[in-house]
């Protein structure tokens, strides 16, 4: 008994691993005197060679094993990692078919609302392409090309006015609603439409809307969706680059025939924050709402640009007061 009392205090058995015992035990008891003469014998004069001091006499055992801090750090880091994974799997809402209310609201914004909203200041307008730009067509019709991605918050903002404007020239089917990706993307969870899987028919123009990636982040990045045809790739490589746009390869990328181009959103996605697709759709018809000012105002600019490639058809749309006014904001 007395021998045990004189022994240096050891760590609790629960925290002792064979490796630990060997490492620290050697340092504490494997020295001359302490180790060879045995614990409990006089250790005076037997200086430990180790730099680690043995715990003083009377020291209480640790509450936890020595590796506890490392486990604690690992648990915290692991939990944050799991939270990030959950964010990407559960919080990014799945893409689902747009409700009748949403599709109806997009395609039936009253003419009076278009005219009342006009073109509020602060909206970005499509940039004109130089005269002599080769025709951009599909199936014999002037082409409007959109390339974006479901995770992209600026694409989320831009789809609304693009869908509203295009609905004045034709009709969509199989539109979906979704939202942009969550944290750490800016403007996370911006509610939006998706052109993936949608179709569009119009007697005036052709529309190709491509979403190149999902809003779900996997180990290797966002999942792939639509693949561009060689012709679409050529258009993107040619026109989604300076001098036509400021930033090369930016999305959303919108090419309006051989007349206008832009990448980025016409307004900040912040306007849509916290709203559902149905709420946004419902506010489109109200010219006093911030959503309508941003979406319908941007749609007026897009409509004016599209009228340039459809030969000002349909006439009632292209000669409306808002579109005529917007045309003046577009360079030519």
């Amino acid at each position: 008994m007395s021998k045990r009392k004189k022994r240096p205090v050891r760590r609790p058995p629960s925290g002792s691993t064979p490796g630990d015992t060997t490492r620290t035990g050697t340092k504490q008891t494997g020295t001359k005197g302490a180790g060879t003469k045995g614990a409990g014998t006089k250790t005076a004069g037997a200086k430990p060679t180790s730099k680690r001091r043995p715990p003083p006499r009377g020291a209480r055992r640790g509450l936890l094993p020595r590796w506890a801090p490392w486990v604690g750090i690992a648990v915290v880091v692991g939990a944050i990692g799991i939270a990030l994974l959950l964010r990407n799997t559960s919080s990014a809402s799945a893409t689902k078919p747009a409700s009748g209310q949403v599709t109806s609201a997009i395609s039936s914004v009253p003419a009076a609302t278009f005219d009342a909203v006009g073109v509020p200041s602060g909206l970005a307008a499509p940039k004109p392409l130089p005269s002599g730009t080769p025709a951009v067509e599909a199936d014999g019709l002037p082409l409007v090309l959109y390339v974006g991605a479901e995770y992209c918050p600026y694409c989320a903002a831009e789809r609304w006015p693009l869908a509203v404007a295009l609905s004045r020239f034709g009709s969509f089917s199989d539109l979906s609603v979704t939202e942009s990706a969550g944290f750490p993307e800016v403007y996370p969870h911006t509610p939006t439409l998706s052109f993936h899987g949608a179709s569009y028919t119009s007697p005036h123009l052709a529309f190709q809307g491509l979403e190149t990636a999902t809003n779900k982040l996997g180990i290797t990045g966002y999942g792939q969706l639509d693949t561009l045809t060689p012709e679409q790739q050529r258009l993107v490589q040619t026109y989604d680059a300076p001098p036509y746009v400021t930033t090369k390869g930016g999305i959303p990328f919108v090419l309006i025939g051989n007349r206008y181009v832009f990448n980025g959103a016409q307004y900040l996605p912040d306007v849509l924050r916290g709203k559902s697709a149905e709420q946004i759709a419902a506010e489109l018809a109200d010219p006093q709402s911030g959503v309508s000012a941003a979406v319908v105002g941007s749609a007026n600019l897009l409509t004016a640009a599209i009228c340039q490639i459809t030969g000002q058809a349909p006439k009632d749309v292209c000669t409306s007061s808002a579109v005529t006014a917007a045309a003046k904001d577009l360079g030519s």
Binding site: A59, G62, R66, V76, A79, V186
Partner: protein, 147 residues
């Protein structure tokens, strides 16, 4: 890191966490716009501090932060740091605080979609305390008279 070092770290970090928690509590009860925090979508203090997750059973989490850091500060004061049971109390409190912070981080990332820099500072303080207390608890306790 010896127990004394750990308790000094806990004491200092608790004081810093307490100060920020008081600031966040004042902002909660007055105007969240008081918070000097950038807003670019991801970093948005106002969105976080006015969210549903900013209160826990009706109590603002900033106020809970004051309670946590004040308690940790007191438990680490030199006068009582070595009293029996204090190490266990600090360990339990640190584990509870860290678990709560993990919930708040999850809420920010997955539910709110924004982070608050002031809140993140508080979370880092809690993490530092958690690690220091774990280190302290994994070392033999040395009576003050033998230090």
């Amino acid at each position: 890191m010896r127990g004394r070092t750990a308790s000094i770290i806990v004491l200092a970090v608790s004081a810093a966490g307490l100060a920020v928690s008081i600031y966040l509590t004042i902002a909660h009860y007055t105007s969240p716009r008081l918070l000097a925090c950038g807003e670019n979508g991801v970093v948005n203090c106002e969105k976080v501090t006015t969210s549903q997750q900013a209160t826990f059973v009706g109590v603002p989490v900033a106020l809970l932060g004051i309670g946590f850091f004040a308690a940790m500060f007191v438990l680490s004061l030199p006068a009582i740091v070595d009293r029996p049971g204090m190490r266990a109390a600090r360990l339990i409190l640190a584990c509870v605080g860290m678990a709560f912070v993990l919930w708040l981080i999850y809420a920010e990332i997955a539910l709110i979609g924004a982070i608050c820099l002031w809140c993140t500072f508080v979370h880092l303080c809690t993490f530092a305390i958690f690690v220091a207390v774990l280190v302290e608890a994994s070392r033999p306790a040395v009576p003050a008279s033998q230090r």
